[in-house]
């Protein structure tokens, strides 16, 4: 039995759409091969990519965060730059800086690692707030301004940051303002037994880096074109109302001190669109909203609750699904 195959409303050509679907399938395959047994995480990563969002991994070391980021970059076929955040990292280490060219007697701009398709910021909470702030402009507006000159970043610029929740000593927790600029927060979690067995098996006889062998997925169609397609996925009034109701519920929930911001709401809708696209639907349904809710809300809701999942569950229970 086939699932419905309906195109997003305003996509001109069928072939474009088919190319996009193929590309995403390949990407999904790549990531799943790299990160075994974590289909749902992979889905969210792809959704985040398609919704032009930035990704925050909040998990223990060694769970494959960096591997995932690397294979993502390899699949996109773009340029990856990596910053290992330490307390002595300076803003200009990220954005780049101007240097005086002795020959021309002019300042020349040396782009920093931010000028890449994907910026992997490892252990971002170890950088000083000043350095973290340097990322603000880049993440929100996809440009950096150095010495009064603005430099555009890549169209598909994406930040994948990781942070370690365990070692809080000597760390600078990300402020709410910065957290809000990420689209979602993901926990990879330990793989299951079967996946670990497969993992070990796959490592036998492999000397080099697995990621390198991945094929690029976006040769026939631009990633940016797919992102535009996603932005055109329909969100009808009932679903929008549902989103707004849920958003209001986060603000009125007893345990939540800081509810969802309008920016968060917009990201939520975009993530839902991406999820609908990934499910080959041209329109968004409440299931999409619920599916992406966890990563979107866990990043943003702060307050006096121990279990964010339970709180999100309560919020959902208080709002009726539109019919």
């Amino acid at each position: 039995m086939n699932t419905l195959q309906t195109m997003p409303q305003s996509i001109e050509s069928d072939s474009q759409y088919k190319l996009a679907i193929d590309a995403i399938s390949r990407l999904r395959g790549n990531l799943n091969r790299t990160l075994l047994g974590k289909q749902s995480v992979v889905e969210m990563v792809i959704a985040c990519l398609l919704s032009k969002g930035h990704l925050l991994f909040d998990d223990l070391p060694g769970l494959g965060k960096t591997t995932l980021a690397k294979s993502l970059v390899a699949s996109i076929g773009g340029e990856l730059s990596r910053v290992q955040c330490t307390p002595d990292l300076l803003p200009s280490d990220i954005t780049g800086f101007s240097i005086l060219n002795q020959k021309t007697r002019e300042f020349e701009f040396r782009p920093g690692p931010v000028f890449a398709d994907v910026l992997l910021a490892d252990e971002i909470n170890r950088a000083t707030p000043r350095t973290q702030s340097a990322l603000f402009e880049a993440m929100a507006e996809r440009q950096v301004t150095v010495d009064g000159v603005s430099h555009r970043l890549s169209k598909t610029f994406m930040v994948i940051a990781t942070q370690n929740p365990v070692e809080s000593h000597g760390a600078y927790p990300l402020p709410e303002a910065q957290l809000d600029r990420f689209a979602i927060k993901l926990q990879v979690g330990y793989p299951d037994r079967q996946s670990e067995l497969e993992l070990l098996e796959s490592q036998i006889g492999v000397a080099g880096d697995r990621v390198v062998s991945l094929e690029t997925c976006f040769e026939e169609i631009d990633l940016h074109a797919i992102q535009e397609m996603v932005s055109k996925v329909a969100v009808e009034l009932p679903v929008r109302e549902y989103l707004v109701n849920l958003c209001a519920a986060t603000r009125t929930h007893k345990a939540v001190a800081l509810g969802l911001s309008p920016r968060g709401l917009m990201i939520w809708q975009r993530m839902a669109q991406a999820n609908a696209f990934l499910n080959l639907r041209g329109f968004t349904i409440p299931d999409d909203v619920q599916t992406v809710a966890g990563p979107v809300l866990e990043l943003r809701l702060t307050g006096s609750f121990d279990d964010p999942k339970a709180t999100i569950e309560q919020i959902f229970d208080s709002v009726a699904v539109p019919h």
């Binding site: 039995m1 329909a234 009125t252 599916t291 999942k309």
Partner: protein, 875 residues
């Protein structure tokens, strides 16, 4: 913070936490406060409605019922949809229309009942109905309003209601209620004010809520111009409020239900010619009438000596009452609708008025069915009935044999009692001399609740007053002398020394309500039976009766066979005549017949008087006294809707037998088919006893049927879920035949209902996809059943397919603005098959066997990123 504390202590927290909260049914502090501020206004209108009603108790009962209905309707409908603002916009018109219709429905239902029984409620005037609609709408709005705009509208409506109530009502209760309302409303206003201030501080830019569009502007100007031109061009007196408020001086249209206001409503005017009012005495019409009157005695008493032959008994009245104009006045014999014109006309052109005629003999207002006896006959010689009066007249010896002593002692005595300033003549039945040997345990059945009715004499020329059974008292306005009334020798009330009861006299009657309960007790009957066998010597009536002939005795014996002696036998006679004989006014006895009763028993067909005669004879053959009564039978057929009373003419003449068990109380029985006795007054206990007896007899007679029913019911109870499911499925099958879109929607609705029946209802916050996929994850809904045939979709596939179709219907955008169709669906055939499979496989049984956990202990749904879509189906 400070502002919130103004609202109420509990709303402080509520307000902060639920700011803009949308969860139903938790009531926001502001919503609760709006409701509290609306309730006094709502109550005040009920006070007004009760104040102007004839029977306030009914209005309060109506109040409770209406309030409950409104609460139910509001909650039910707003629960059906979710609580978003657009849903509220959709809910409010629906609910408001329903609750606004309630008073009208009640009104017309009462009017409809009125056709059959004019007794109780006359409905409500138009403006009160309109107000009641507004009142209901206000309460409903207060119950369902979630947005500030609607809350303000509600309060405004409540304010109007309160204003109306205070202006129109003079009831004492209105003022405390208004005070309460004032306090509440001011409190509400303060809260609302602070709320607005706070909203302003948030810094949201407010757009003007009044779009100044050109079209709106032009339309407004046009409306104003139209109103102005109407005001200028049309004469002011025509504009007026002509007929707008029928109770308040409207002139072109009268509302029959109006009963108070600035102008006189019809009902008030109707008091003059309505039988249930105190009649023409209270108007000047009667006094000035040329017809012989009870009341124009002033000159006769004080002036000329009354001519013996022509004089009629009358009462003197105050000269002030009589000092009115001496022109000709109209008399109205017509029913009340026409009377309003009579009321207005005398000021302008009195002479043009024509008297209103009516073919009726009597008007009657009161409970039906009812029989008013005019004459009774106690002796039957086999062909002819006679009574004392006719016998005396034929004997030409007036003075010697007027009353036999026995009969005179049995006649009730008259006594004057003043009730609320009005003279009432009471009739007291003398206690019959009881045999010393047996004293009955109870008094003769004289039930106390009275049943009052009124008659108005129109063309009935007689001194006799038509009266119901067991007349207790009567009243004619200003007739305060008992000697005006006496009993005829055959036991009917008459007016003494008059040629006739004057036309247009209104007589109020109170009778004891029929109560045969004691009579039905066998022990009572036994005691009476003993005494009556002794009494045959004492009572001249029984002695004079010829013994019924053999035919009647035999027929009676057949009828009462197996029944104990008592009232049951008499009822058996009634029933048998009603069931087995045919009423036919043409089937008269042939002239040569010497025994009409025998002929009647043979042909089983005859007019009413033969029914009555036969029944009377049969009762006599059982050893009881009986007689034949002649008079009027009133039932709903004679009801005149326009005037709200019964018009009694020749058609209503009727004959019926009366039975006396104790010699003084005559009880009418009704053997004629198509006629019935007045309803009996039963206490709750008597009713229960009777119901028990009937039920017990029925069970004795139909044991197998009862067992069958019980068995069926037990099975139905055991299989109730299956039955409900069947009904639902059938309904969906029929409803869903219309279009594929509806079939999808209804099928999924059916799934929801089935899940409810199976004990795992889908919570409103879960989507159907989640809920049913969970179900199919937990169990295998017999996919194996049709796994052989490839063409048929499996249960889970069909569910997914239908859900997809529903998503398409609900959430996909309209492409061309037309209504959503599933034309984009690739494979309609598959969808239809899926629907069939869905209905067939996802049964309640299947869901129950799925052992779905309850909502609470269900593991957390895969809502977060752990949720893995079923990608296998995609690839």
């Amino acid at each position: 913070m400070k502002s919130r504390s103004l609202m109420s202590s509990s709303s402080l927290q509520n307000g902060l936490q639920r700011r803009g909260g949308t969860k139903w049914p938790v009531v926001d502090g502001r919503e609760m406060w709006t409701l509290l501020a609306t309730l006094p206004a709502y109550l005040a209108v009920w006070i007004v409605r009760a104040e102007i009603a004839w029977y306030p108790a009914y209005v309060w009962m109506l109040c409770i019922a209406t309030t409950l209905t409104i609460v139910f309707v509001s909650k039910w409908f707003s629960r059906l949809s979710n609580t978003s603002e657009s849903a509220e916009r959709a809910d409010i018109p629906r609910i408001v229309v329903i609750v606004a219709a309630i008073p009208w429905i009640v009104h017309f239902a009462y009017r409809w009942v009125q056709y059959s029984n004019a007794w109780n409620f006359q409905g409500e005037p138009l403006e009160i109905l309109v107000l009641a609609s507004l009142q209901n709408m206000t309460l409903a709005m207060a119950l369902i309003s979630r947005t500030a705009k609607n809350r303000r509208l509600t309060i405004t409506m409540g304010f109007f209601l309160m204003l109306f109530a205070v202006v129109i009502s003079s009831h004492n209760w209105v003022y405390p209620v208004a005070l309460l309302y004032g306090v509440m409303a001011i409190w509400w206003l303060m809260g609302d004010h602070w709320e607005r201030l706070q909203d302003g501080f948030v810094g949201q830019t407010r757009t003007s809520s009044l779009p100044m569009r050109g079209g709106v502007l032009v339309a407004t100007l046009l409306l104003i111009g139209l109103a102005a031109s109407v005001a200028v061009l049309v004469a002011p007196e025509r504009v007026g409020l002509s007929g707008f408020l029928p109770t308040s001086g409207g002139k072109s249209w009268a509302d029959p239900s109006a009963r108070s206001g600035v102008g006189d409503g019809d009902m008030l005017v109707g008091a003059r010619d309505n039988a249930s009012s105190f009649g023409p005495v209270e108007s000047d019409l009667f006094i000035e009438d040329k017809q012989p009157s009870l009341y124009d005695m002033i000159s006769e008493l004080d002036g000329l000596p009354p001519k013996k032959k022509k004089s009629e008994a009358a009462v003197g009245i105050d000269s002030k009452v009589g000092k009115t104009n001496h022109e000709k006045l109209a008399t109205s014999e017509a029913s009340s609708r026409e009377f309003s014109t009579v009321r207005q006309a005398p000021k302008y052109d009195r002479k043009k008025l024509a008297d209103k005629d009516s073919p009726s003999l009597i008007y009657y207002s009161g409970p039906v069915p009812q029989r008013l006896a005019v004459e009774t006959f106690d002796q039957f010689d086999g062909v002819t009935w006679t009574n004392n009066e006719t016998r005396n007249a034929s004997s030409q010896n007036d003075t010697s044999v007027v009353y036999s002593p026995v009969i005179e002692s049995a006649m009730p005595s008259t006594q004057l009692i003043s009730r609320s300033g009005k003279p009432w003549i009471y009739f007291r039945h003398p206690k019959r001399e009881q045999p010393t040997t047996v004293a009955p345990k109870t008094d003769p059945p004289i039930p106390h609740p009275n049943w009052s009715s009124a008659i108005k004499i129109i063309r009935f020329v007689s001194t006799r007053i038509p009266t119901p059974d067991a007349l207790r008292c009567l009243h004619i306005d200003r007739i305060d002398r008992p000697e005006f009334f006496d009993w005829t020798q055959d036991g009917v009330v008459k007016m003494v020394d008059r040629e006739q009861v004057p036309a247009l006299t209104t007589i109020r009657l109170e009778a004891k309500q029929r109560d045969l309960h004691d009579l039905r007790k066998s022990e009572y009957f036994e005691s009476i039976a003993l005494s009556s066998s002794d009494a045959t010597d004492v009572n001249g009536l029984v002695n004079q009766q010829p013994t019924p002939n053999e035919t009647i005795v035999n027929a009676t014996r057949q009828i009462v066979a197996g029944l104990p002696r008592g009232w049951e036998q008499i009822e058996a006679i009634e029933e048998t005549l009603k069931q087995e004989f045919i009423l036919d006014s043409q089937a008269v006895t042939p002239d040569d017949s010497s025994d009409p009763v025998e002929h009647f028993l043979k042909t089983k067909r005859g007019p009413a008087y033969l029914f009555a005669t036969t029944a009377a004879m049969m009762v006599r053959s059982l050893g009881h006294e009986s007689r034949l009564a002649n008079g009027f039978y009133i039932d709903r057929d004679s009801f005149d809707v326009a005037s709200g009373q019964h018009l009694i003419g020749k058609k209503q003449l009727h004959w019926w037998p009366q039975v006396s068990i104790d010699g003084s109380n005559w009880i009418s029985i009704e053997p004629t088919p198509g006629y019935s006795s007045p309803p009996e007054q039963w206490t709750l206990f008597q009713r229960a006893q009777w119901a028990w007896n009937v039920a017990a007899r029925w069970v004795r007679n139909h044991p197998w049927l009862l067992m069958g029913c019980m068995f069926g019911l037990a099975i139905a109870y055991r299989k109730r879920i299956f039955l409900v499911d069947c009904v639902l499925t059938t309904a969906v099958f029929f409803v869903g035949r219309l279009s594929i879109e509806r079939r999808v929607a209804w099928s999924l609705w059916l799934m929801d209902k089935r899940a409810e029946l199976a004990g795992c209802p889908r919570p409103p916050s879960k989507t159907q996809r989640q809920w049913f996929q969970r179900m199919q994850f937990r169990t295998i809904i017999s996919d194996s059943r049709n796994s052989d045939s490839r063409s048929q979709p499996t249960a889970s596939d069909s569910m997914r397919y239908v859900l997809n179709a529903q998503d398409e219907l609900l959430y996909s955008p309209c492409r061309d603005g037309s209504s959503k169709k599933l034309i984009r669906f690739q494979d309609l055939e598959t969808l239809q098959q899926s629907l069939l499979t869905l209905n067939k496989l996802w049964t309640v049984q299947a869901m129950r066997s799925a052992n779905m956990p309850q909502q609470n202990d269900a593991p957390k749904l895969k809502r977060t990123h752990e949720y893995a879509p079923d990608y296998a189906s995609i690839h």
